[in-house]
Subunit: 130 residues, 2 copies
DNA sequence: AAGAAAATAAGAATTATTCTCATTTTATTT
DNA sequence: AAATAAAATGAGAATAATTCTTATTTTCTT
């Protein structure tokens, strides 16, 4: 195996895993998702690398849902829906965040706005029916 | 002292405290704020009652900032700014959330939308200058 | 006033996350 | 390619926010 292929094998597996799911997983969920293909990646390494990617702006944190931090490989501002029943997190790509809100926020606060999160909460389809 | 005045003295003190601050405090911050006037309120009681108020929709949680849950007595949807430097949370009453976003979210998700949070992040004035 | 129900204090228990350090892997230099 | 330096990892200990347990106190109902 070439050197280039070996570089950061585990780190890349973690980022790839996050990029390939739409579940907005927690560290534990990433670890579980990787288990079949990479059973040798420890939970500490998942935590460490998620923090590493986050500090470099390569992924974003959605904050905690039910006390657990959730991550998203999509760093573009976009809208989420969090189900308060099953704690699923969905993207709502159909909902657009008006650009005016950001500038409005900056003017209103006198602060330097770097990021924005718009999250709706409620019950998802299956939780509403049970 | 009349019975009416004694009812839920501690519980009410906790809600009043949250209503009288704009700091969007954590449980520990509420406990500290209450210390001078109510040194006999334990931290467990603060946690318990914040959860009690929250479960009844009397207050809302803003989620966690720097790993600590923050609370707000204002349950109306409104916009927040979170400073990533000092972890202060500010209201941005000047920024309006378009009502269309909520309906748009409900249509897009097929879910029952119950709440909405719009949060901007960045550096507050004093953190930007240091 | 007596009994039932609810709230509380204190600290133990829980749990997500971070940290430590010895080891392994990867990169750099010779 | 060998030697050395730097970075990453595993395993489990440590941390810290939050929740839980239980005995006690306070409040409510009768």
């Amino acid at each position: 195996m070439e050197a280039a292929e070996k570089q950061f094998r585990k780190r890349n597996a973690i980022l790839d895993c996050l990029r390939q799911t739409h579940a907005h997983p927690s560290a534990e969920m990433v670890h579980a998702l990787l288990q079949p293909s990479h059973p040798d990646i420890s939970l500490a390494t998942v935590y460490r690398n998620l923090a590493w990617f986050k500090s470099r702006g390569m992924i974003q944190s959605l904050g905690t849902v039910n006390g657990v931090e959730r991550f998203d490989a999509d760093t573009q501002p976009h809208v989420h829906f969090v189900c308060t029943g099953c704690h699923a997190v969905l993207d709502l790509p159909q909902v657009e965040i008006p650009a005016s809100l950001g500038t409005s926020a900056e003017e209103a606060s006198g602060c330097r706005v770097r990021g924005c999160q718009l999250t709706f909460t409620g019950l998802c389809g299956s939780c509403a029916n049970s």
